[in-house]
C-alpha cells in the first residue's frame, strides 16, 4: 500500500494501509503517541482501497479490506476515510479476535477494578464511558472490552471514541478541541466525530483490570434501576459478544465466571448527568 500506519490499541496490533494519504494522516494525528505493535508484528491488517482502480481519483470511494471482510459492505466516500479505517479495525476484531472474549461494551477503571457497560446501539454506553473517563475514571474503551479467559481480567481497547449525533455536542462541552477529529457529516451512521482518549487512558492502555460491576444502561427513560439475575446477564452478554461461540469452552468458562462473580444492574436514565450520578452511587453501594 502507498500509505501505512501501524499502531497498538490495548493488546492488539494493527497495520493499516491506504491508497490515499488523507485517512492515514488523520489516523496519525488522532492516534499520535500510541505504541507500535509488539515486536512490529500486527495481529490484523486493514486496507483502504479504491473500489475499482480508477476510483482512486474519480469520485474516490473507499472499500474496506483486510484479513476479514464483509462481502456486501458498501464503500464509503473518501471524506469518510477515517470512519472506514475505524470500521475496518472493528471488523477485524469482531470477526478475527480469538485470544480474548470480546464483549460489545464500554469500560472504565478505578483502583484496578472495571465498570462494564453494555447495551443496544443508542443506549449511551459510549458517551457514558467517555464522560466518566474525563471525571476521575480511566477510560478503557467505548466499543469492545476484552475478557482474558486465562485470567478473568479485562483488557482495555481505547480506540478513538466514535461520537454520534447528540453525543458530539455533549463531549465538545467537556473536552479541549484539539482531541477531536473532523466532523463527518452524512455518514451511514449519521454525523460522527472521533474523540482521542485522554493521555492517562493511552498511557495505561496495557494495564488490565478486574471486572467489578456490569451496567446495562438505557437512555431516554425516567431514572430507574433494577438488579439483574445471573441467567439474564448471561444471555445478554452472549448476545453482546461477537466471538463467544468461536471461543468454545474457554469462552463458556470465562463468561460463566464473570456472571457468577460480578453484580449487574439495569439502569434507565433521562440524561448523561443522571447516568453518571447513578453509576457512581451503584459503584459505592457495591462496596467498590
Amino acid at each position: 500500500m502507498r500509505h501505512r500506519f501501524d499502531l497498538r490499541i490495548g493488546p492488539v496490533g494493527f497495520r493499516i494501509g491506504s491508497a490515499w494519504r488523507a485517512p492515514i494522516a488523520a489516523l496519525g494525528q488522532l492516534y499520535r503517541g500510541y505504541p507500535k505493535p509488539v515486536d512490529g508484528i500486527a495481529d490484523f491488517t486493514v486496507r483502504l482501497e479504491p473500489e475499482t482502480r480508477w476510483r482512486r481519483f474519480v469520485r474516490p470511494s473507499v472499500a474496506i479490506r483486510g484479513d476479514f471482510t464483509l462481502p456486501d459492505a458498501a464503500p464509503l466516500a473518501l471524506a469518510h476515510g477515517l470512519l472506514a479505517a475505524e470500521m475496518g479495525m472493528n471488523l477485524q476484531m469482531a470477526l478475527g479476535q480469538r485470544r480474548y472474549l470480546i464483549l460489545h461494551a464500554s469500560a472504565v477503571e478505578r483502583d484496578g477494578r472495571a465498570l462494564l457497560m453494555t447495551g443496544h446501539s443508542g443506549a449511551g454506553k459510549s458517551t457514558l464511558a467517555a464522560i466518566l473517563g474525563e471525571r476521575g475514571w480511566r477510560f478503557m474503551g467505548d466499543e469492545f472490552a476484552l475478557l482474558d479467559p486465562a485470567t478473568g481480567l479485562l483488557h482495555a481497547f481505547p480506540r478513538l471514541v466514535s461520537l454520534k449525533n447528540q453525543a458530539i455536542a455533549a463531549m465538545e462541552a467537556e473536552v479541549a478541541p484539539d482531541r477531536f477529529g473532523p466532523r463527518l457529516s452524512g455518514t451511514p451512521k449519521g454525523d460522527i466525530r472521533h474523540l482521542r482518549p485522554n493521555d492517562a487512558a493511552i498511557a495505561a492502555m496495557s494495564a488490565p483490570a478486574r471486572p467489578a460491576l456490569i451496567l446495562f444502561p438505557r437512555f431516554g427513560f425516567e431514572s430507574a434501576e433494577r438488579p439483574m439475575g445471573e441467567s439474564e446477564v448471561f444471555v445478554r452478554l452472549t448476545q453482546a459478544s461477537t466471538n463467544y461461540v468461536a471461543l468454545g469452552e474457554p469462552g463458556f468458562d470465562a463468561l460463566g465466571h464473570l456472571v457468577k462473580s460480578v453484580p449487574a444492574r439495569a439502569i434507565d436514565y433521562p440524561d448523561t448527568g443522571s447516568a453518571v450520578t447513578m453509576a457512581e452511587r451503584l459503584w459505592r453501594e457495591a462496596g467498590l
Binding site: 439475575g229 445471573e230 441467567s231 461461540v245 469452552e249 463458556f252 468458562d253 460463566g256 456472571v259 457468577k260
Partner: protein, 92 residues
C-alpha cells in the same frame, strides 16, 4: 408400550454451571451452550447409568430424588424429545 430408549454422552462431555434460575450446559462435542431448567440436568445425570426410556429414568430419579415417579413419565418423555432435538441425547 415402552417408549424410545435414549443414551447421552458420558458426563465428562458436558460442563455444567448453575445460575440463579437456570442451569448452563456446555456440550463439548458440539461446542454448543444450552440453558436448561430442572429436571434436564437430573435426566442427563440419570442416563450416566446407561441407556433408558422415560419409565426407567423415572424409576432411577425416584431412587435418588423425593418425587412421585407415577405421572412423571410423560414429562420426562417430553424433555427427552427436546433433548434429542438439540443433540444432548440420542436414540440408543
Amino acid at each position: 408400550m415402552a417408549g424410545p430408549c435414549y443414551e447421552a454422552d458420558a458426563p465428562g462431555a458436558r460442563l455444567h454451571r448453575s445460575l440463579d434460575a437456570l442451569d448452563l450446559i456446555y456440550h463439548r462435542p458440539s461446542g454448543m451452550t444450552h440453558m436448561v431448567s430442572e429436571p434436564v440436568p437430573q435426566i442427563l445425570a440419570a442416563l450416566a447409568a446407561g441407556p433408558a426410556d422415560a419409565a426407567k429414568i423415572a424409576r432411577r430419579l425416584a431412587a435418588t430424588h423425593d418425587f412421585d415417579a407415577n405421572g412423571a413419565e410423560d414429562a420426562i418423555a417430553a424433555r427427552l424429545a427436546e433433548l434429542e432435538a438439540v443433540g444432548l441425547v440420542r436414540r440408543a
